[in-house]
Point group: C2
């Protein structure tokens, strides 16, 4: 077997993430690797922490990127905060609420599940009823921006309930950070995790997290050991903490951190609120075009995320064929439906660098062309080429 260098196709990434990565960030990824304890690297880490605090609107000292993708950031929150027997109210309105429930169970916690329809925001009334019915809940866990459906939940209302019932809040901000309003301090979020590959437009591989003083106190007063060495924050902080001397814990993903640093510099240059405005602006443009084509959104307008647009697949149209043609003819990736929505919806991402005028127009034009060709083929009774089915596995 002969192996050769891999040159990826140049796609436009309008799925649920990874999103398009700017050439500045790609070029940062290729800068020379240096030691993970090099003084120059340690200074860069300090800047990453400061810029993450700004992007999350928090002054939490325990703010840093976990050295692994978003699901490891989720696990960092649950592994450090939840102990065997702890009751956790988990809100499920899509795939990622379900993953939170899994995390609670893996830590030996007891999930109390609140279900909302997929495509809807978390209902605060149900949450309050659950918190009232179950005294002594340790934490309330929910997803801010549900990537599987495109629904946005009201963080501030939910964290206020958490405080009222004296429990911690754990918030999934994987798809919200950098794309929509997220105010960790103002909303008094206790633990929050995100991902590098959504609205921050980095390659995947890092999960920014932040913990409030209350959360840190909970970690320090644990009764049991954290069932992970790699994610144990009391150890990780020796490396990511303050001061000139950093203690070796694990080897940080040096070049991916170069990428995150550059992406955060770019966010800093644009301004956080301007980035939020840009996401709203191009979402409106995309929405106008999609609705003009007769496509319907999954999520009611007031609960919709600008950066993740889930639309119903029109009656009679095959999911895989359309996504295969978009990839083949336009190098355009849009997302498939996840879980109960597989085959029924498409998810069009407008995240970070992918959220721009050119992409909106490309997506609308490509979708219109492909849908009309698929429609014409259906009318002729033609079959779907196998190659397209293979391509359509993406997303």
């Amino acid at each position: 077997m002969n192996f050769k260098p891999f040159y990826p196709p140049v796609r436009t990434l309008m799925g649920p993430g990874p999103s398009d990565v700017h050439p500045r960030v790609l070029s940062a990824m290729a800068r020379p690797t240096i030691g993970h304890l090099d003084p120059a690297f340690v200074s860069m880490m300090d800047e990453v922490k400061m810029m993450l605090q700004q992007a999350m609107l928090t002054s939490n000292p325990l703010t840093m990127p976990v050295s692994a993708p978003g699901s490891a950031g989720m696990e960092t929150c649950f592994a450090n905060l939840i102990e065997p027997g702890d009751k956790v109210v988990v809100c499920q309105n899509g795939v990622f609420g379900g993953r939170m429930k899994e995390n609670v169970e893996r830590m030996g916690g007891v999930p109390i599940l609140i279900s909302d329809d997929w495509g809807r925001a978390v209902d605060p009334d149900k949450v309050e009823a659950a918190l009232r019915a179950h005294p002594g809940v340790k934490a309330l866990a929910f997803v801010h921006a549900e990537t599987s459906t495109g629904a946005c939940s009201d963080v501030n209302t939910l964290t206020r309930l958490a405080r009222h019932y004296d429990c911690l809040s754990i918030v999934d901000a994987v798809t919200s950070l950098g794309g929509i309003e997220l105010r960790v301090d103002d909303w008094q979020i206790d633990a929050v995790y995100s991902g590098s590959q959504k609205c921050l437009s980095c390659p995947p591989g890092l999960s920014p997290v932040s913990f409030s003083e209350r959360a840190v106190a909970a970690i320090k007063s644990r009764r049991s050991r954290i069932p992970s060495w790699f994610l144990d924050l009391t150890l990780v902080m020796g490396y990511w903490g303050s001061g000139a001397k950093r203690t070796y814990h694990h080897t940080a993903p040096v070049n991916t951190l170069y990428g995150l640093h550059e992406a955060l510099v770019m966010l800093h240059e644009e301004g956080l609120e301007q980035a939020w405005r840009r996401h709203r602006h191009y979402h409106r443009a995309l929405r106008a075009g999609l609705e003009a084509m007769g496509l319907r959104f999954v999520v009611p307008e007031t609960e919709r995320l600008p950066q993740l647009n889930a639309i119903h697949i029109p009656e009679g149209i095959d999911d895989v064929t359309v996504r295969g043609l978009l990839l083949q003819d336009y190098q355009l990736e849009i997302g498939a439906g996840l879980g109960v929505m597989a085959g029924k919806v498409w998810r069009i991402g407008l995240m970070g660098q992918a959220c721009n005028r050119r992409n909106v127009l490309l997506c609308l034009a490509a979708l219109e062309d492909v849908l009309s060709r698929v429609q014409a083929r259906i009318e002729r009774g033609g079959a779907i080429p196998a190659a397209l089915v293979a391509l359509g596995q993406a997303g």
Copy 2:
């Protein structure tokens, strides 16, 4: 606060890893990001798996890179194989054996610790005595190439003992893969983990792992749930498994995998045995030079790793000053001592791309110059500049 792009200094990395990354690999890191379910990406994943199997000399189907650094690879092995109450014989002859013991404890297992002197190989006689004394041990865990001391243990003898006493073997090959002989199938290793940033010369962030049929059977017959969702191999395999259709588990670190792919192509081009020979060859050259300077190795010759050369810091010489000057004047990073060896030894890496004639000569010349200047300063009674102390924190 004004944030600017970060341009790292161009170092020569002769510490314990990360090692020098070849420009081909850096440039692969900067190729356009594509979706983690894109058919083009899935083909590349298949090649990464095949090349890892070749580099590890295994036909284990469950061979792949974990999406996080080496310590997460270690945790993947212990989290999947060790259940509460399981007895594990853990060999400690340096820092990383100690970390294995921590992992066993975090999983609720019962470590049976075998200690050898730091700087020596694991003693098979002690291991056999422990296995004889403790019937029903679930696994024997040890480090092949101890990065903290430079000692090489005899994997084949140790795994033979594991089989004889009917227990699984878990082998840390973080620093051995690609640098010295490692034969996963011939030596019948059950679980092995490595790192991307040592002799494979990739940026850190991935941990290649491989599991034998026996290990897979042990995972499938677990009595308890794996206390990690992110590292649960029964789920991860849905994404890294065979066949055209991959199931979304987590978002893989796309660009870091481009880097690993390119590094494995380069290893494939050179040939695995030639890479082993190259490591031995330049180790001998470095050794000759170091000994000519009167420097003494920590590890006896027959137990020495070629890729990690631990030497005693000469009497009266300050560790931090020397490493600070090497970094300042030569952009050369060598490693500090870890744990009980901090301040007492230096660790000079000759790993992967860093293992070449130019680096050997640079290291010897730089060390000779710096040592003679430090010696002269001591004789004059001069103080150490603070800037050097800061630089010397690296490694």
